[in-house]
Amino acid sequence: MTHQNRTVWCLTIALILLVAVQPVLPGWAVNMIAMSLSNGLVVLGLMVIMRAGLVSFGHGLYFGLGGYGTALGAVFLGITDAFVLVLLGIIASTFVGFVLSFMIARYRGIFFALLNLAFSMLLFGILVNSIVLGSTDGFSVPVPSYFGYVPSSAETRVSFLLYGMICLLVYVSTLAVHRYLNSTMGYIGEAIRENEVRVDYLGASVKQAIMVKYIISAILAGMGGACTVLLIGHVTPEDTVYWTRSGEFVFVAILSGTGNVAAPFIGSAMFELVRTYALQYAPEVWQMLLGATLLLVIMFLPSGLWSLIRSHDRKREQT
């Protein structure tokens, strides 16, 4: 019990700290934190289904739907408010997630993973062939407003308002997911991963539980996509729905581990750091460095980076 409350406290302190240090941080750090947080939302969504033993190689689909939903709202509907735009993105990904969940919740293992990939590549194909959406070049998204206020677009660092909004969205999402994962509905995920027959004979619906988890993951991935598009100010099919993007999320999810709702954001920040430095200092072999990082984590921390924090925790409890 105290453990659960501690997570809530830590998340709250992290939110306050992240927002408080924004004005004094250098631009690159602010941008990197904001990017890690929005990508971490997608990984948080993957974590929800991974706890039920399901891996999706196609969550770029929902990431892209969130991004395109937001971008289309800004460009074609003329909506300027950032919160409404993010909401549009979430609605787009949630709707598709809901519809597809009826079919996808029947599958497990590699079939589940690849069916998601198939749907994401379907969307990729549609987007690449849509001239009006800029095809492979995508299109730019104007700087949104926040309750009527428009931050200056000349700045190279992420505006305090966008940064604050992303922090707030991450805070609310992690608290909600934390609450969910500790509920009976959440724990059914672990039970399903372990033994579906027993879950069925205990009287719970496996399919319904998986559908709910899948839709939650679609909501979070859509939210992440919407935030990322606002951060970059541009949307392309390759940066959102392409399979390499989906693979990257799975990569970060494995790097992070599924032990706690904070893990995806730590993993995501770690990933951004390694990528940034690897690109800067070893541009020819940066992908190799990423691969080596994942290999080391899998070999020495099979439960992801989070196990570092967990094992520290255990030692403290023992003393």
């Binding site: 500790n182 009976t184 027993r198």
Partner: protein, 254 residues
């Protein structure tokens, strides 16, 4: 005696094999019914039909007068018919405590409170009380899948009982348990069951266990019921002995 569960005229074929032909079984409210039969006689098939895992080709399953033949396993479970398995169906990577906790959570989530935290002070106490009752609290924090068969069997049965069923179906509770532990294990189960209003139907190969615990025995052979009566009658029936028990056991039983 009031009838809780009734199977009428059940037929089930798998290709050329008849797994159930005109099977009629009834179970009283507080009755302990043993089902015996050689391998392939249709005992587990019968349990699978009762719990909705298999649909019979014809025939009706009635539970408290209600036809439940076409329902899915989880709906039948919700109505109050739970089962344990020959190979324990547990959550192997989770602790014994978490196994019970999840079973408790699912049992309590029928009234739309699946969103409540799984581990509360109350649910933790309830889970611990169950572990004590089944005498497995020594294994509370151990990974369930690594425990001896007998402990996993008890855990499987404890999970089936968590939802306070009206009917409990046990598929070979003593199989895979060592000879000196099996009576102890059955005593533990029967002690717990004796304290609740539950009809028990158990499939069993061990005639000693059947003779000791069943109020009534039904013998299956090739999908048909060959005997139905008091344990001493059925177990001494010459046809049953030939088909089910095997003659070599005659001297042991007499």
């Amino acid at each position: 005696m009031n009838t809780a569960l009734e199977a009428v005229g059940i037929n089930k074929r798998f290709g050329a094999v008849s797994a159930a032909s005109n099977v009629n079984v009834s179970l009283g409210v507080n009755e302990v019914l043993g089902i015996i039969g050689a391998n392939g006689a249709g005992k587990t098939t019968f349990l699978n039909i009762v719990t909705g895992y298999l649909k019979p080709d014809s025939g009706v399953i009635r539970y408290r007068g209600r036809n439940i033949t076409a329902l899915e396993p989880r709906k039948i479970a919700r109505l109050g018919i739970h089962r344990s398995f020959q190979i324990p169906q547990i959550f192997p990577k989770l602790s014994v405590f978490d196994n019970i906790l999840i079973a408790l959570g699912i049992a309590g989530s029928g009234r739309n409170n699946g969103w409540r935290p799984l581990l509360t002070g109350d649910s933790g106490d309830a889970a611990d009380a169950i572990l004590v009752r089944y005498r497995i609290s020594d294994y509370r924090d151990r990974e369930a899948g690594l425990l001896p068969q007998g402990i996993r069997k008890l855990l499987d049965i404890a999970m089936a009982m968590v939802g306070s069923p009206n009917i409990l179906l046990l598929d070979e509770p003593s199989s895979g348990v060592s000879a000196d532990e099996k009576m102890l294990m059955m005593d533990t189960i029967m002690d717990v069951l004796g304290g609740s209003e539950v009809g028990v139907l158990f499939v069993e190969h061990d005639m000693e266990v059947v003779a000791h615990y069943a109020h009534r025995v039904v013998a299956f052979s090739d999908g048909k019921i060959v005997a139905d009566g008091l344990p001493e009658e059925v177990l001494n029936d010459s046809e049953v002995r030939g088909l089910v028990i095997g003659n070599e056991l005659r001297s042991e039983l007499n």
